[in-house]
């Protein structure tokens, strides 16, 4: 399974980005190999419609779960319809620590 953490930087030690669609980077963890890959969000600074377009990027990258601070209405609809689960992290922690908390089952699912 491929898990995504929204992040302010390209490293697992960078802080989690609380916004989904405007996250500068998507860190994608391949659970089979344990590898972390950073994907730049090309729509982070666009005027509108960034939520569904970011969701599309995750669909195209084969992501099944996303860990983020919050998602907007359109992003939620797109993620839900793509079958991507959303887990919310409310504290400002590193991406690696957010992923750890997800693995421990201590994050709230959005739906």
């Amino acid at each position: 399974m491929r898990i995504c953490v929204t992040s302010k930087g390209t490293d697992p030690q960078d802080p989690v980005e609380e916004r989904f669609g405007r996250s500068p980077y998507f860190l994608i963890i391949d659970q089979k190999t344990g590898d972390w890959t950073a994907v730049t969000n090309p729509v982070a600074a666009e005027v509108g419609g960034v939520g569904p377009r970011a969701a599309q990027l995750l669909v195209d990258n084969g992501v099944s779960v996303v860990i983020t601070g919050n998602v907007g209405g359109n992003a939620r609809t797109a993620l839900e319809s793509a079958g991507i689960d959303v887990f919310l992290i409310r504290e400002s922690v590193t991406a690696a620590s957010a992923y750890e908390r997800y693995q421990k089952g201590s994050l709230q699912p959005l739906y």
Binding site: P52, Q56, A78, S81
Partner: protein
């Protein structure tokens, strides 16, 4: 001759000025008054009557699931995020769609067609002898104001004199209303908010190449910030309307100042001639 009445800040008296100037000048020539504040049109309150209605539609994509191959070309083309292609199908978010038609063009399997969707209407009311009121009305829950404004403007096209009552603000609906106008009357009030937003409206009119002049509404003696603002920006002050309880009373019961008071009728007719002179570079 196309005159826009705009303001920046809401509640400064755009509709008050538009309704009164329209009524006053229609005493002597054929006039069309267009309510372009399509999210909350209100000029009809001053001109009761039963209008004729024409629907306003926009085009939305319809995806044929049988011929769609989920290739994702439509979603990667759409700059507004209106289409998301997942393993199980295509999600269309109608409120993000700008009806550009691009998805239909880029679809390699011809799975996308377009259908008309009603988003509002244009009402037309003939008020004898020489006035016509056209109101653009956006349906509740719809967001494409400019489409309805365009339709309202089209309904008025060809008329020798058209006065547009714009929405507040300086966003797309106001750009749609101001573009191509000969002159813009900016209604302001002598408050910090009024002047702050007037500044934005002045900049917008300048960007669009529309000459503008100012009507100061609810003016009080001694409070001359608005006049000083106009002086600084070299803006002609077209009219100064005092803060007067009787004016408010007439307006608030749906009356027209220029109908009940002949002196004010003359004042609003003069306002029209000053705006006309401004459009010809004569002020």
């Amino acid at each position: 001759m196309e005159i826009a009445v705009a303001s920046g800040k809401g509640g400064t008296g755009k509709s008050f000025v538009a309704a009164n100037i329209g009524y006053a000048i229609s005493r002597e020539r054929e006039t069309v008054l267009v309510d372009c504040d399509v999210e909350e049109p209100n000029l009809h309150l001053f001109f009761p009557g039963i209008p004729s209605s024409v629907p306003v539609t926009t085009r939305l994509p319809v995806i044929d699931e049988d011929s769609c191959t989920l290739c994702g070309k439509c979603a990667s083309f759409c700059r507004y995020g209106a289409l998301t292609v997942t393993q199980s199908g295509v999600l269309f978010l109608k409120d993000l769609c700008h009806s550009c038609g691009g998805c239909e063009i880029v679809c390699p399997s011809g799975a996308i067609s377009e259908e008309e969707s009603v988003i509002g209407r244009v009402d037309t009311l003939r008020i004898p002898p020489h006035l016509t009121l056209i109101s653009g009305i956006l349906n509740v829950g719809e967001i494409k104001s400019p489409t309805v404004i365009k339709a309202a403007r089209e309904a008025a096209s060809g008329s020798p004199l058209v006065i547009y009552d714009a929405a507040p603000g300086v966003t797309c609906p106001v750009v749609e209303t101001l573009s191509g106008c000969d002159v813009c009357i900016l209604v302001t009030e002598p408050t910090p908010f009024g002047l702050h937003d007037l500044d934005l409206a002045v900049q917008l009119a300048a960007l669009l190449g529309v000459p503008s002049g100012v009507v100061v509404n609810r003016s009080t003696p001694g409070a001359d910030e608005a006049l000083r603002f106009c002086e600084r920006h070299e803006l002609p002050v077209l009219l100064d309307i005092p803060f007067d309880r009787e004016i408010a009373r007439i307006h608030n019961r749906g009356g027209l100042l220029s109908q009940v008071d002949t002196a004010w009728a003359d004042t609003f007719r003069d306002l029209f001639y000053r705006a006309e002179a401004l459009s010809e570079g004569g002020l």
